[in-house]
Symmetry: C2
């Protein structure tokens, strides 16, 4: 068992792993964060078609890619088997934005794949305006 995998001891499901992932990110505890990741983790952002491969590159992406004060508030985590999804609110330099993430865990419980979505506000289409209310 690797050092990284051993630190996952006691985490019995994908929900717990993803809760620890967001807690480590918010704490800037990159050691704990890295320990949750598979060596060959693959991160994808489909909206930009950006991809990061491997724990070291993904750590650097997180540490160096967002050089401003940011905070995460977890709204929801759903875990089932090796899969999980999270809905966070990300408070950064452009205000607060929802972030939706889908995770896949590998055999050893480490995070092997992350697919990340950042929806922006848009105008309500006129075609359904009569069918909704605003909040």
């Amino acid at each position: 068992m690797s050092v990284a995998a051993s630190s996952l001891a006691g985490m019995t499901n994908a929900h717990d792993v993803v809760a620890a992932y967001w807690a480590a990110a918010e704490a800037r505890d990159w050691t704990a964060f890295g320990a949750l990741l598979a060596d060959d983790v693959v991160y994808r952002g489909p909206q930009t078609r950006e991809q990061v491969r491997g724990r070291e590159a993904y750590l650097r992406f997180n540490v160096e890619g967002f050089r401003y004060d940011w905070h995460i508030a977890v709204q929801r985590i759903v875990g089932e088997g090796r899969h999980a999804a999270s809905w966070i609110e990300f408070d950064g330099q452009e205000g607060t934005q929802p972030g939706l993430c889908f995770f896949e865990l590998g055999d050893d419980g480490q995070i092997a794949r992350i697919t990340d979505f950042w929806p922006d506000p848009y105008e309500l289409p006129a075609s359904r305006a009569h069918l909704v209310e605003r909040y």
Copy 2:
């Protein structure tokens, strides 16, 4: 037990309910779709701040709000307790777009709350361009 609730017999978890929800939508089986919804279901789209309350209004929203040929391909469903999340690809009049949905079920297993996100493509920020590859 209501007629709607009785048709949920055999669905033991949120994953199955959400799988049935998307299957009914794709089949335009609005009777089956409606049977999965709580009377007082609340739908929210945070990006437009649109909201629809109640089964009848939400059925009308789905039937009348998207008057073009569309198809759904489910990529992932994750269910845990009364919560579920789905990632679909929606093929509509503007091409294919990911849709992320978070669901809450009520006591009787019907869908009580839906929060729906539609992320659009955006430009990769220069600040992290050196930290990623494109796919």
